[in-house]
Point group: C2
Chain length 211, copies 2
Amino acid sequence: MRTLLCFGLLLFLAQSCLAQKPHPCRSPPLLSGSLSVSARDGQDWSFAKYRYDAFGQRIRLWEFGKHDNKSFHLNLLFLFRENVVYSINMRNKTCQKNPLQTAFHPLKIPRNASLLAQVVLGGSSGPGEGLLVNTWTGVVPETQGKYIATVTEFGCIPVSTIYYTEEMGWVVTSYFNAVTGIEDPNQLNPPSFCTHAQTEETTLNFFSGFF
Amino acid sequence: MRTLLCFGLLLFLAQSCLAQKPHPCRSPPLLSGSLSVSARDGQDWSFAKYRYDAFGQRIRLWEFGKHDNKSFHLNLLFLFRENVVYSINMRNKTCQKNPLQTAFHPLKIPRNASLLAQVVLGGSSGPGEGLLVNTWTGVVPETQGKYIATVTEFGCIPVSTIYYTEEMGWVVTSYFNAVTGIEDPNQLNPPSFCTHAQTEETTLNFFSGFF
């Protein structure tokens, strides 16, 4: 009986230890927050507020930045299920509707990703001094681009991604001020003045939203 | 009497609110941790464990990385008060001693730095999901290089610095796994086999420790 108990305890301890190893994870399906993207060694950059809805496969971005030394502002709504992207001008109440080429990719660490390291950003000597994160690496099958993605150990909240392709070089994205949920779900629907927008010919992809 | 009480309460509240505005800060004088540095759009990079002693103005680095497509390992002890840097080879028990040009700069946000933003890295919806940090910017008087430095709101622990000069381009440093204090103070003294090392002619600066 005692041997059985010991065996059970050992099994439980072993399972607990295994459970503590970082595992690929999926971010919350509803997220609101901000991000910054930079490429070409800081020459191209943008800041954006985002709303992310993995249930409805929709992303909204309010964005400003610099590309080829020219500044830009964008207000975009990606509806991946309908394969369209709306470029919205709230001031003029106008709307441009383009076909969207990119498939929806939920925010997650793919199962075949390799763990690079688990680290504490900042420090661990006092409360509020650090953030336990896991950094994963892998290859995007479609593009053969390499990625390094960092997410929080608790909650799988995105912290940063580094993405490398020969075409674009290094693209660094930092995520901040995330909250789980979407305060105003209307932000993920096209505004009323977009209803009758005709679909343009030019197909856009998700990255054309950034640079 | 009641008016006085109300006035006192208002003053206290106002002071509390003011106290919550981020202020330039100084990191703990004894820190142990790790850092990564990258430059030239990721072509040059290094990882290092460090020990930092602002009291004794000493820094120890154990480092490996890549510079000009060649990998390197370094084991360095900077003694800023004595203006020397030791390059230590533990395997061969040999030591090289060079004059050190750079003055000691404590880890701190200078008083004249401008606050760029206070953000939560990751998210704030759950415990362990985010880290409240302050990002500051300014110019280094000696080099006229621009910096963007991020430290934790609680504890002033370094999280990242971005440093730009025309000569070096962007140099990005990330700090992680910091603990306050130094577990083994011997690591900040030259090993015994360094005692009789003759000082070389070539003067080094702190950055030559990285690339």
